[in-house]
């Protein structure tokens, strides 16, 4: 159990068998069904969520009632409402499953204890935060591009997501309407 999680962990830090055993005691395994929520806006986000298998998304709902996707998370990725997780304040995002998913959850208290008991875990936390920041910046940089460029970047950077996620969700992630993205894709294929 948690094979993807430990593979990722071992890529960043070396753990002894004993440390790995300690680590396992803090992990909460959770399986969720397609369309099931793991977090809803307004609830406190109690866990950092690692995707062992499946696909999740985080999104917010704007005043017109449209969902705006902030992040997708595939196997080996983390997803959470970071602000709520750190501060304990109500979450601004919803997180649900786009496919049946197997997750590993870690609470804030467990993370703190892990940092105390296995100091090198700090290094792992730092590397994960850095990756999350880079991904966030990357997404923001998309917004300076035109429609076609945004879509091309998305296909280049996250081909698996484009394969597995419906187009209207890709459009939402890129800050476009489904119609705009569909038009742009038609124009792109007409030029080929």
């Amino acid at each position: 159990m948690h094979e993807v999680f430990f593979t990722k962990l071992r890529e960043s830090i070396t753990l002894t068998e004993e440390e790995e055993a300690i680590f396992r005691t803090y992990l909460l395994p959770k399986k969720i069904r397609k369309k099931q929520y793991i977090l809803q806006e307004g609830d406190a986000c109690k866990y950092a969520i690692f995707v062992e298998k499946g696909l999740l998304r985080s999104y917010t709902v704007n005043e017109k009632g449209n969902d705006q996707i902030v992040q997708f998370a595939l196997e080996g990725w983390w997803i959470t409402d970071m602000y709520s997780f750190i501060t304990g304040e109500p979450a601004r995002y919803n997180i649900d499953a786009l496919e049946e998913s197997e997750l590993v959850l870690i609470s804030n208290a467990a993370l703190e204890e892990l940092r105390q008991r296995i100091p090198k875990f700090l290094e792992f936390s730092f590397l994960q935060m850095r990756s999350a920041y880079i991904a966030f910046e990357k997404r923001l940089s998309y917004m300076n591009l035109n429609t076609e460029e945004r879509y091309k970047k998305m296909v280049e950077t996250y081909p698996d997501i484009v394969q597995r996620v419906p187009q209207h969700m890709i459009a939402s992630y890129l800050g476009l309407t489904a119609e705009t993205l569909s038009r742009a894709r038609k124009q792109m294929s007409a030029r080929k």
Partner: protein, 199 residues
């Protein structure tokens, strides 16, 4: 498009294993709440019959019969074992891997014994905790053990909760309160003197 509904919370998934009298009473109580209730029994037909009974009484209740203990415990946020103690130990061994850090509510078996010796409620909790060292064990005793729970419309009125994890006790107590079941007392299992705290 998703409509914004303020005050919505993630629906907790609660697994009840065992569809005997007490399992029925607990499932009937939980079916009144905003929970996704999974019911499992080694005799799947019994679990299905109970689900059908509950749905007949309350058409919109979110209950489902499950075949596999392991998969349903993996899906669940909380697990309730409404079984005799020897079966609880068996099930605990089966689901061990997927209940790490979760809350497991064990129904006290008043008739539990080993090699002819009676096993106290506290000993039952201790043995379960040994099997599941990283699971938050809460013991539940029905306050009205004489009540006949054989029909699906009957549900629990009050329970006694015990456990060492205060947060877990609070969560179980408020879950039960949300479906109209009053938790009468809680007591720390580690305290052999049995000091009780009224909720």
């Amino acid at each position: 498009m998703v409509l914004k509904i303020m005050g919505m919370h993630v629906k907790q998934t609660i697994l009840v294993i065992g569809s005997g009298a007490q399992g029925k009473a607990i499932a009937a109580s939980l079916a009144n709440g905003n929970y996704h209730v999974l019911l499992s029994d080694k005799d799947f037909a019994k679990a299905e019959a109970l689900v059908n009974g509950l749905k007949h009484d309350r058409q919109h209740c979110d209950v489902e019969a499950m075949q596999c203990f392991f998969d349903s415990a993996w899906e669940s946020d909380m697990i309730l074992l409404a079984l005799c103690f020897s079966e609880q130990k068996e099930v605990a061994t089966t689901i061990k891997e997927v209940v790490n850090q979760k809350i497991l509510v064990s129904l006290v078996d008043p008739g539990a014994s080993e090699k002819g010796n009676e096993i106290s409620a506290e000993k039952q909790a201790g043995l379960l905790q040994q099997l599941l060292p990283n699971t938050k064990i809460v013991q539940l005793e029905t306050a009205d053990p004489g009540t006949d729970h054989t029909d699906c419309s009957k549900h629990l009125s009050g329970v006694i909760l015990s456990g060492n994890d205060e947060k877990a006790l609070e969560i179980v107590s408020s879950m039960l309160a949300s479906v109209g079941v009053k938790s009468l007392l809680t007591k720390a299992l580690s305290n052999g003197e049995g000091v009780v705290k009224t909720l």
